[in-house]
Symmetry: C2
Subunit: 268 residues, 2 copies
């Protein structure tokens, strides 16, 4: 797995192919920092190149950055938007740093796009909750939110460590996974032929859950991946969950070795 | 002005015309009780006929009912949805009875439509604020909300009376307006030739505001109407506001008498 985010050469090639097919690209959506679900961060050395490709292709970049402040090492990554105010729509949220139930976020966008966003928001919901926005304002103005985010980072780092440690200890050979530097997720690839969606009922029976990779692909692919979240459970629960998941993957691997591929499996 | 809401014969004629032109009607949107902005209520005798026309035309009816509990006389109107669970999508809200800033409402819809609404909501906003919903639940469970709504009705009835009284006293001849039995609005028609949108800057200068009727028509018409809201200001302010508005209408009428129609006025 490439854990440095979008590969500039691959992006260029894709843009060329799509345009050659006569199709228009409206924008490039990206979570460049602590990606959900892939848990990778666009490497510093690639950021300027991605911006440059977008600029040359006249392609608007959507920088969705819910996890940017939840890094476990060093300073927050510089936002792509900081180097291209006209080419980037930046999306921020208080859902991961204050409270998801408030549903308050924000967008930084070039003027013309901002006007359209306001119109779209007005026609979709008239206006957002003033109460929720006031609560966020009061919280930011009166509470030590930077300190709180530091505590969150320590908490999530500990849980990330618990998950990575447990994966190392328990998972059968052939599994691969990302080692996130922030955010909530580990992105895991199953050994050849296993399907995370088909495996989910077995996992639920073992009382461990994940999101099958197919949920993150528009074309139905991604079945070899699964997203694990270490955000909510405590370390002991994470270790137990991974232990159970490893058992499910082992059982599934054995089943496949004995009975072959699933009937509906197109890879067989 | 017909103050009994949608005219069944006119609805039938419109449906026939639109269908004859080969166009499909997706649904009929309606605020049958204390309409915004027209302030009229669909008469009891017309309700069954409107439902019957929709049923025969296989036309879904959207019953938007934000003001239904804010009537000044008698019991709340029976919802159209109560007589056609499969043909009506009913929209309710706590914005007018609990707090607009919470942005909590609800929909009652036939099963298949409800599933689509859930999908649309998920893709538009993932989920609604759990905090706001909990606040509404707590409020309804622990507070005397029926009594509170009675107080609101008394408050708004007093303001409606203040507005109707002031209109009667101050408005120049030729103006006509609805006499709402509930809700927040009076819908006023200006004397021939006056344009509420063109008149608005003059009203703002006189420190009185309204919503020009054009805001409620998709085709740019409605310029002879304006919507007055008695919801927020106290009676003394309402009376002063109407006095100022009457002065603006008089001045505008005189201007027209002296200089003729506005250059851009197509009626001239």
């Amino acid at each position: 797995m490439d854990d440095e985010g979008i590969i500039p050469e691959a992006l260029e090639e894709t843009i060329t192919q799509v345009m050659a097919a006569g199709r228009r690209i409206k924008f490039l959506y990206s979570v460049p920092t602590f990606h959900n679900p892939a848990a990778v961060t666009l490497a510093a050395g690639r950021r300027a190149r991605i911006l440059d490709i977008c600029r040359r292709s006249d392609l608007l970049l959507i920088e969705d950055n819910p996890y940017g402040l939840l890094g476990f090492d060093g300073e927050p990554q510089r936002a792509l938007r900081a180097d291209s105010a006209e080419g980037v729509v930046y999306l921020g949220t208080f859902s991961k740093t204050v409270a998801p139930g408030l549903r308050v976020g924000w967008a930084l966008a070039p003027h013309a796009i901002r006007d359209k966003l306001v119109l779209a928001a007005e026609s979709a919901m008239l206006c957002h909750s003033s109460l929720a926005q006031l609560m966020v304002r009061e919280y930011l103005a009166s509470q030590p939110w930077q300190e709180q985010i530091k505590l969150f980072c320590e908490l999530y780092a500990e849980r990330r460590d618990a998950m990575l440690g447990a994966l190392e200890t328990s998972m059968p050979p052939g599994c691969r996974w990302t080692r996130p530097g922030g955010g909530f997720y580990v992105w895991l690839r199953l050994p050849g032929g296993l399907d995370s969606k088909a495996m989910l009922p077995r996992a639920i029976s073992a009382r461990v859950a994940y999101v099958p990779g197919t949920g993150f692909y528009a074309d139905g692919s991604g079945g070899e991946y699964l997203r694990l979240s270490y955000c909510y459970p405590e370390p002991a629960k994470i270790r137990e969950g991974i232990r159970r998941l490893a058992g499910v993957v082992e059982a599934e691997t054995e089943l496949r070795a004995t009975f072959g591929a699933w009937p509906a499996d197109s890879e067989s």
